[in-house]
Amino acid sequence: MAVLSYLEAIRETLRQELRRDSRIIIYGEDVGVRGGVFRVTEGLQKEFGEDRIIDSPLAEAAIVGTAIGAAINGLRPVPEIQFADFIFPAMNQIVQEAARIRYRSNGTFAVPIVIRAPYGGGVHGALYHSQSVEAFFAHVPGLKVVVPATPYDAKGLLAAAIQDEDPVLYFEHKAAYRSLKGEVPEERYLIPIGQADRKREGTDVSVITYGLMVSYALKAADELEKEGISVEVVDLRTVRPLDLSAIIETARKTGKVLIVHEDNLTGGIGGEVSALIAEHALFDLDAPIMRLAGPDVPAMPYSAPLEHAFMVTPEKIRDKARELAKF
């Protein structure tokens, strides 16, 4: 089986989907000739032509808004927002339009689009090239929000998102693009949106997380194993909808839950996961639920010590999980 980087997995999935379904178009800022600023779409315009891989004007509301219109008129647009931090001009189109069109038309119109955007920090991207924005969208019924953690998941989740009949936000961690590698089958497969995945079995502490933090949590778990602490790692894979049964199952199993995300603490996914556990598994817990997340400062600073202080790291996860195990 081929070993691909996270970025290659996404590119090859796009290629496979473009070959499978002629309704798919990809567009966004610099995605055509240049192949995207991260080169995710490199080579696709050459293979599929300028009518399917399109350099768009620098205008995010139009990128998403035209995708909505094109989807309604029979295409399957997969627009790219160059950085998740630049998605906010399209907020009106995503939240008021894409998310609500099926509902407000009583099911007569649908918006099958996938909005891809690189998110996350630790790459010297500062305030406006480092953000994690998933919680804004996870709040909105009508949207699905996918944050893959591995090359294998990136493929199956992207294929599922493209085939989905509803708007899906697909957030790719830019630090994962080249650092994460893994085996990816060549044939097409779908990973259902809304299903979490237990990435590591454990008995003492459950770490519930998603995105890049999954690989960080696995590193922390390996280290803690040497100390005799058994850590289970549950990858949410999608933050809307959340996989309630997987969350409850791991909480009941270990009785100790640490929720980790790079996004800011307050109002983040951790709050929702925590509430679900409190509602459904409170008396199975042996310790208070803990959260480890980006601090409540407006966004990630540039200078290295400041950036490092913001980022959730394997070491911080290890220390927090150890603290919880010893509670």
């Binding site: 178009i25 009518d51 768009s56 004007p57 205008a59 509301a61 139009a62 808004g65 035209t66 995708a67 909505i68 219109g69 094109a70 989807a71 309604i72 008129n73 029979g74 295409l75 647009p77 001009p89 009106n92 189109q93 008021q96 339009e97 609500r100 069109i101 099926r102 509902y103 407000r104 038309s105 009583n106 099911g107 007569t108 119109f109 649908a110 019924p141 009508g142 699905k144 599922a160 085939q163 989905d164 009949e165 509803d166 779908l190 259902p192 949106i193 809304g194």
Partner: protein
């Protein structure tokens, strides 16, 4: 009014019929509001000439509309029935626009090729560009007409949409129904230009001004824009100068910002009356036809009202329907 060679006598009378139907349906809706039977009205009275002239220039079998909330006459002329409009007005389950989920006049109709719309203005212009772009990429022989008020042209999405449309040369017609007010704010406080159409220059597309009380003139400019669009010539911005004869909505009172004298002056340019006179002068209309039309429209409005009043409200347990579709197999 200009000479017209495209439309035959029957089509010209049909234009007038839709204008009168919309006016009378709109009036009935205000009565229902005052009777406490309909919580909210947002009206298109005064804009019927623009809307019917534009709709008649399109092909209802292939083209799409992405309208806004004053476009009752446009959606009627594009194929929605008076009953369907009234079902939406009264929030009934069978409302084809939204099943009673949206405020009245948020028109949409999948089968009639009318896009669902929202209350945040101008969002539909971007959708229309995307729809037209898809039509072009698929090789459809079709155009999309989207409409909006002049106030909406100040939104960023208007700029983004028109620029995108022009770069991709998509078959879209952007029709600004300039009634001079965004709620209470007159055009002079909305923008520092007299004609919205001049904004087209900034996008490299033609901008056309037309008198909205002249449905034939509107028909001609929209028909020309359609021909241009469908033959690969790209988008056109059309500004129709028109009037809003009512307050912004049933929750507004325009006496606080528009003098009654000004309103009376605006009503001298009523498209319904002007077009009736034109038909009479062209010897296509007479008192007998007028009486017959009024009776037909009254019957249609009565029927729509009775039908919609008796129609079922949506069941509370349907509230959670249609948040998502079915997941892929």
């Amino acid at each position: 009014m200009p000479e017209n060679s495209d439309l035959d006598a029957e089509q010209l009378r049909t234009m007038y019929y839709y204008m009168v139907l919309s006016r009378e349906l709109d009036r009935r809706i205000w009565i229902l509001n005052r009777q406490g039977k309909s919580a909210f009205v947002i009206s298109g009275q005064g804009q019927e000439g623009v809307q019917v002239g534009a709709a008649m220039a399109l092909d209802v079998k292939t083209d799409w509309l992405a309208p806004y909330y004053r476009d009752m006459a446009m959606v009627l002329a594009f194929g929605m029935s008076a009953r369907e409009v009234m079902l939406g007005q009264l929030g009934k389950a069978a409302d084809p626009s939204s099943g009673g989920r949206q405020m009245p006049s948020h028109f949409g109709h999948r089968a009639k090729r009318i896009l669902t719309g929202s209350s945040p203005v101008t969002t539909q212009v971007v959708h229309a560009v995307g729809m037209a772009w898809a039509a072009k990429l698929k090789g459809d022989h079709a155009v999309v007409l989207t409409s909006l008020g002049e106030g909406s042209t100040n939104q960023g999405e208007f700029h983004e949409a028109l620029n995108f449309a022009s770069v991709q040369r998509v078959p879209v017609i952007v029709l600004v129904e300039n009634n001079g007010y965004s709620i209470s704010v007159p055009q002079s406080r909305e923008m520092a230009i007299r004609d919205v159409a001049v904004r087209a220059q900034g996008y490299g597309m033609p901008g056309v001004v037309v008198q909205g009380s002249d449905p034939l003139a509107v028909y001609q400019v929209v028909a020309a824009a359609r021909t241009k669009a469908i033959t690969g010539g790209g988008p056109t911005l059309i500004e129709a100068k028109t009037h809003r004869f009512t307050a912004h909505s049933s929750d507004d009172d325009d006496r606080s910002y528009r003098s009654r004298q000004q309103l009376a002056d605006e009503k001298k340019d009523d498209a319904v009356i002007r077009f009736q006179h034109w038909l009479i002068t062209a010897q296509l209309w007479d008192d007998e036809r007028e009486r017959a039309l009024k009776a037909r429209v009254r019957h249609e409005v009565d029927d729509a009202t009775e039908y919609a009043l008796l129609a079922a409200l949506p069941a509370a347990e349907t509230m959670s329907d249609h948040v998502y579709g079915y997941p892929p197999a």
